[in-house]
């Protein structure tokens, strides 16, 4: 693993293609009451990267993700998605999907209708939409549950529905806000592995928020380490394990070493907090 110096927050040259998918240019978030949710962040994410925002609660990782999605406005600075402000993204051919921490499904609607929602909202003809829903459900292995109601499914299956809904618009950029945080560990490992598979198959760019060091090491090509009070980016790490990664990766010394390095970084960041508090 290469530890990147805090002040050079760009990906290494060999990973930088012509067009970065996401550029965060000194974006910060201060609420009107003076709370600093996020100090200025500079971050460039290349097409095809799997970037994890890792940190404790209150470090602003969700805030940063929501600013990329355009759900929150930065109080200063700019965010570009394929060199355009997020608000203009719908004019381009690029698409972005957001997956929430909870499945966020409509409880009254079938799995089929839930997954079709973004297409319905965009006015895609029913026939074409249904074909894409079927395809998307097959990707997450739920084609048999199209007519089920969400409450009939387990938490992990509901999350798969949510991911299928995220994929049905054929996004280039997938933003995921602690999507598997509420699931049991076994289910989470399975979904992590499936997600990596999808990422490779669909050549997605993924920004993934988590507070799990192990999940971050397993999934990411790059980890952005964040700290709280005030929320900020501390360091970045490249996880130099080649893809495809199998579950065996998690029991290798390389995995343990990289997880330890992230752990140490997290401890360093929080000890700064304590010093500041004194």
């Amino acid at each position: 693993m290469n530890r990147i110096e805090p002040h050079t927050l760009a990906p290494p040259p060999e990973l930088t293609p012509a067009v970065p998918a996401v550029e965060v240019l000194s974006a910060e978030k201060t609420y009107p009451n003076g709370t600093q949710a996020l100090l200025p962040v500079d971050l460039s994410i290349a097409e095809g990267e799997f970037v994890t925002l890792l940190g404790p609660s209150g470090c602003g990782k969700s805030t940063l993700l929501k600013m990329v999605a355009g759900m929150l406005e930065p109080s200063d600075g700019r965010l570009l998605v394929w060199r355009k402000p997020v608000s203009q993204l719908h004019d381009s051919a690029r698409r972005m999907s957001f997956v929430f921490q909870s499945p966020t499904l409509m409880p009254w609607a079938s799995v089929q209708t839930n997954v079709r929602l973004p297409l319905d909202l965009a006015g895609v003809p029913r026939k074409e939409a249904d074909a894409r829903v079927t395809e998307s459900l097959a990707l997450v292995g739920l084609e048999k549950f199209a007519d089920a109601l969400p409450r009939a499914l387990s938490g992990g299956m509901q999350m798969r529905v949510s991911i299928a809904r995220g994929l049905v618009t054929q996004p280039d950029l997938l933003l995921m806000d602690e999507p598997f945080g509420a699931l049991d560990e076994i289910t989470r490992h399975k979904l992590d592995a499936d997600l990596l598979e999808l990422w490779r198959k669909k050549k997605l760019t993924v920004i993934f928020v988590t507070h799990s060091i192990h999940e971050a090491v397993f999934l990411s090509s790059r980890v952005v380490m964040m700290a709280a009070r005030p929320g900020r980016v501390v360091e970045q790490f490249h996880i130099d394990e080649p893809y495809p990664r199998s579950a065996d990766f998690m029991v290798t010394p390389a995995f343990a070493r990289q997880a330890k390095q992230l752990q140490d970084s997290l401890l360093r960041a929080s000890s700064h907090d304590e010093e500041a508090a004194r």
């Binding site: 009254w108 319905d120 909202l121």
Partner: protein, 273 residues
């Protein structure tokens, strides 16, 4: 009881579905039997407490006036319930347009609710010429508030993440209303309907009492008043029974409607078994 019969009998009685009907019916049978026995044993005169048997007989012999009165009361109840539902839903939609509108108007909805209808009814009966229309308005006023408050709450009770998702997908106001707000509000709306159906009946009976309309337009309340004047207590009991049964029937109808409309998705409709 043979072993085989016990085997068949036990599971049936232990089914919650059977118990839900059986237990109240058993209580009812015991109470009615006790009532009948007390009237006979203590030789209570019919002008004080009629026996249940006499009440049923009166219901049959006096069916002509009672049945007609039931229809009148039912008509006012159903009309006022429909009026309250339509008005309540429209007012709720108005309320959720902006927090400011709700803040400005909600106290008046409360005012409407806390003013006793008995006190307002004479005024409405003077203002509205047609007695049926007047009584319908009175009953609708009683039934209105639960629909307003429940539907407003429902229209506001949206999963915030789901709403963000709609906004992220650039859903129009109309799409949000039809695909998100209305479905989210339905369980609350039906809860309001269930309360209001009973209130519409109460409102109708109260309005009839106040209006005191006789003749062909007389409802069950008028039958009770008349029976009181004539000390025809068995008929009074029979009219009371009809009012109670109407209320129960309305409640059951609403519960059934809720079940049909919400199907299996909402937690309140999950069987507790």
């Amino acid at each position: 009881m043979t072993a085989a019969a016990r085997k068949q009998g036990a599971p049936l009685l232990s089914q919650p579905r059977v118990q839900r009907v059986l237990y109240p019916v058993l209580i009812g049978v015991v109470l009615v039997a006790l009532w009948q026995w007390m009237v006979v044993a203590m030789e209570l005169p019919a002008y004080l407490v009629p026996s249940p048997w006499l009440m049923m007989q009166t219901l049959v012999t006096d069916w002509a006036p009672l049945g007609g009165a039931l229809l009148v009361t039912l008509k006012i109840t159903v009309l006022s319930f429909a009026l309250a539902t339509v008005a309540g839903v429209l007012i709720s939609f108005l309320f959720v347009q902006s927090k400011r509108i709700e803040t400005a108007l909600f106290p008046y909805a409360v005012l409407l609710q806390v003013t006793p209808i008995v006190a307002v009814a004479p005024l409405i009966i003077i203002w509205v010429k047609n007695p049926v229309a007047a009584m319908t308005v009175c009953a609708a006023l009683v039934a209105l508030f639960p629909i307003i408050s429940n539907t407003t709450l429902g229209l506001r009770s949206i999963d915030p993440d789901l709403q963000s998702y709609f906004k992220l997908n650039r859903a129009t106001r109309w799409q949000q209303l039809v695909r998100l707000r209305i479905p989210s509000a339905l369980p609350y709306f039906f809860g309001g309907l269930r309360i209001s159906s009973g209130l519409a009946l109460i409102g109708a009976v109260v309005a009839e009492f106040v209006a005191g309309t006789g003749g062909s337009g007389a409802g069950l309340a008028y039958q009770i008043l008349q029976a009181g004047f004539q000390l025809n207590i068995p008929r009074m009991f029979a009219a009371l029974l009809l009012i109670s049964l109407t209320g129960v029937a309305l409640f059951v109808l609403m519960a059934w409607l809720t079940k049909v409309a919400l199907g299996s998705w909402h937690a309140s409709e999950l069987s507790q078994d």
